[in-house]
């Protein structure tokens, strides 16, 4: 079954030559619309399940509750595995703290430290590309009969998780199809496939992201989004001093 999905995915993603029709929107507008498809731009909470798969290793699954406020603030609470329950990650802009129950205090950490498997802290907690990256329209491609604008995103600051991102955005719906993440050196680090579009939090959104490690064959993480709820969240939830209360 997994093979079938994989083949279908490859077929869907296989690029084909597309007629170069100038897009009606600027790169910034396309990126903004694509961000709006991926995540609500208001405050929201969502449960995320991350399954990490590695060659010759057992699958590993973790679940998180993620709270997001605006474009800059996020809290990631670890729900499982049991041994990690109570761990909390806070992101305010590019500032990060981790709360570990055994230490009972928030510790400042960097954006590049890994959370689980192939998923960096920034992948879970930092939802939007716009703001972090400067977009440009690289080309158009037709994939499975649909026309996609391929955006090249260049990191605006050195502390952004990836140096460069290529993003495939469907021209009519602004649904992202896939992304490629590159290091500053230009080396391909990961690819991401946006799939399982479902009606959540008021519109069709991708509910499954498959992050594939480009440097290790057969190594990938699947992020599944569930129970997305748009609701106002107090500012204090996104402060270092409130982290101890998130662990309850």
């Amino acid at each position: 079954m997994r093979s079938v999905v994989w083949i279908a995915t490859v077929l869907l993603c296989a690029p084909a030559a597309a007629a170069e029709v100038p897009p009606a929107f600027s790169a910034e507008e396309i990126l903004l619309k694509s961000d709006e498809v991926r995540y609500p731009q208001l405050d929201y909470t969502v449960h995320v399940t991350i399954t990490s798969t590695k060659p010759r290793a057992k699958e590993r699954t973790s679940t998180y509750e993620v709270l997001v406020k605006g474009r800059e603030h996020a809290v990631v609470k670890t729900l499982t595995p049991r041994a990690d329950k109570g761990r909390v990650l806070l992101m305010r802009g590019h500032d990060l703290w981790a709360y570990l129950p055994t230490v009972s205090k928030p510790l400042r950490i960097s954006l590049r430290e890994r959370l689980i498997g192939d998923v960096a802290n920034g992948d879970v907690a930092r939802a939007n590309f716009s703001g972090d990256y400067t977009p440009a329209i690289l080309r158009q491609e037709t994939v499975a009969g649909q026309v996609y604008d391929v955006l090249e995103l260049i990191a605006t600051r050195p502390d952004v998780t990836y140096g460069k991102v290529l993003l495939w955005v469907e021209r009519n719906t602004r649904h992202p199809l896939k992304a490629e993440f590159y290091a500053i050196s230009g080396r391909l680090l990961k690819t991401c496939l946006y799939s399982q579009y479902k009606e959540i939090a008021g519109r069709l959104r991708p509910t499954q992201l498959i992050m594939r490690d480009a440097t290790v064959a057969g190594q990938y993480s699947t992020m599944t989004y569930e129970r997305m709820t748009v609701e106002p969240l107090p500012d204090k939830y996104f402060t270092k001093d409130y982290m101890k209360k998130h662990m309850e």
């Binding site: 590695k54 049991r82 500032d95 009972s104 960097s110 590049r112 502390d159």
Partner: protein, 447 residues
């Protein structure tokens, strides 16, 4: 005994009071059945929403220096029950029980150590959280943690510490939760915290004959006697209070605090009779001010904290001094940096204690400097986690090595194997335990 009864009363109060508060005020005597029903509903709702989790741990330690023997075989259960009583009111109850048969099945420790460390039933973090707008209040037995340091207590001055196993357990187990009120106000990037601990508490130290007992410092070969420190009564006038402000500005996380407290170590006042030092320790009040900051620059996280005690009580070897104690200002500070090399998280820190007014014959050096290094990584997709902490003194040989490996057998079971190795002179912070190095295992089941 009276204190325990008071604690139990507080616990019952913590659970019952919110239920009573939630129940509507009776308008007339006939409202009684309605009130009882409301209370029953509130209790049922609280129990239904109660989240109970816990961990069972078995710890085994073996001393590998002179007089090799088992020093620990502790079996511990820690439970946490938490939940919400209303949108604004949460609670947490954390009982702990442990028993260590090493004090029963071996004769490695004297009766005093057995009495102190064989078993314990205690209530740890147990409190109510009230939240309204920008204000949060936590009332109950709690840990209040200030500071940025990794693996060390510096600005972490609020709670008394359980040092019967030195600083080897997890920090949340070293801190002794204290009864108190923690009021927090958050506005924008600013944070204000007011703390009041009505019941003073002091560090718990290893008794004579226990594995990590701290002897008073005397000139080499000098006989001494020591009595238990006398504790001030539990009264409002002996309570502790403080305030902390924090502000996040351009990625700089800045903090400053003041805490009116007690020196939680007893001050070793002494008299001399003949050649014998007679120590009569007492607890003294202390004023502590401090600052802290952290900032990330190019993936390097910089951290620092500083505390200043304007009147620390310090021990002197000067035999002409009447009580062997001299008051002097003391500054403790550290600067540190975190960096991740590939998949290896690291931290280095420089720690210094400076006695700003340092007369001759003071037991402590004028400036005492330590360096610490910490590293941790993961293999097998994070299932195997090696970790190393080294703290070493620059004034004299005085080092602690703490290598350990944690293996996550499953999502709910982990085993840890490690060593705590001490080297140095008896005058050192770690060297005093030069004969107490140990290897250990810990098996933890989460449920």
């Amino acid at each position: 005994m009276g204190h325990r009864r008071w604690m139990m009363g507080m616990v019952v109060g913590l659970i019952v009071l919110p239920v009573i508060v939630r129940a509507e005020e009776p308008q007339a005597s006939e409202a009684e059945p309605g009130r009882i029903h409301a209370m029953q509903s509130a209790i049922e709702s609280a129990l239904k929403n109660m989240n109970i989790r816990g961990q069972a741990t078995q710890e085994l330690a073996y001393r590998v220096d002179e007089s090799r023997e088992w020093t620990k075989f502790r079996h511990q259960i820690l439970l946490t029950a938490s939940g919400s009583l209303s949108d604004a009111l949460d609670y947490r109850i954390t009982p702990r029980v442990y028993y260590d048969p090493v004090y029963d099945i071996t004769d490695n420790f004297p009766h005093t150590a057995r009495e102190s460390q064989r078993s314990e039933i205690e209530l740890r973090d147990t409190y109510l959280d009230y939240s309204s707008g920008e204000v949060d209040v936590r009332i109950g037995k709690q840990q209040i943690v200030w500071g940025e340091a990794v693996g060390l207590f510096f600005a972490d001055v609020v709670n008394a510490k359980d040092l019967r196993e030195f600083v080897l357990p997890d920090f949340d187990m070293i801190r002794i939760p204290q009864w108190g009120v923690d009021l927090e106000y958050t506005h924008g990037e600013g944070h204000l915290e007011l703390v009041w601990l009505p019941i003073r508490d002091f560090h718990r130290l290893g008794v004579s004959g226990s594995e990590f007992h701290l002897d008073p410092t005397v000139p080499s070969g000098t006989p001494f006697t020591e009595v238990d420190p006398s504790k001030p009564p539990r009264s409002i006038s002996n309570s502790e209070a403080g305030a902390r402000v924090g502000y996040l500005m351009g990625g700089w996380d800045l903090g400053a605090f003041y805490f009116y407290t007690w020196d939680k170590f007893p001050v070793p006042y002494r008299t001399i009779s003949g050649s014998t030092y007679n120590f009569v320790p007492q607890y003294r009040r202390a004023h502590i001010v401090g600052t802290s900051f952290s900032k990330e620059i190019n993936d390097i996280v910089l951290k620092s904290e500083l505390t200043f005690n304007p009147g620390a009580d310090l021990q002197t070897f000067d035999t002409t001094d009447a009580d062997g104690i001299i008051e002097s200002p003391v500054v403790d500070y550290l600067v540190g940096a975190d960096y991740t090399f590939g998949t290896v998280d690291t931290n280095i820190q420089l720690l210094q204690r400076v006695i700003t007014d340092h007369p001759a014959l003071l037991v402590e050096d004028e400036v005492r400097t330590h360096l610490s290094f910490w590293a941790k990584t993961g293999f097998l997709d994070g299932k195997l986690e090696p970790e190393l902490l080294i703290i070493t003194g620059l004034n004299e040989p005085d080092t602690m090595y703490r290598p350990k490996v944690t293996y996550h057998i499953s999502e709910t079971l982990q085993v840890r194997v490690g060593a705590d190795i001490f080297q140095g002179r008896p005058s050192g912070v770690f060297g005093r335990f030069d004969n107490n190095s140990r290897v250990y295992t810990e098996l933890t089941l989460y449920f």
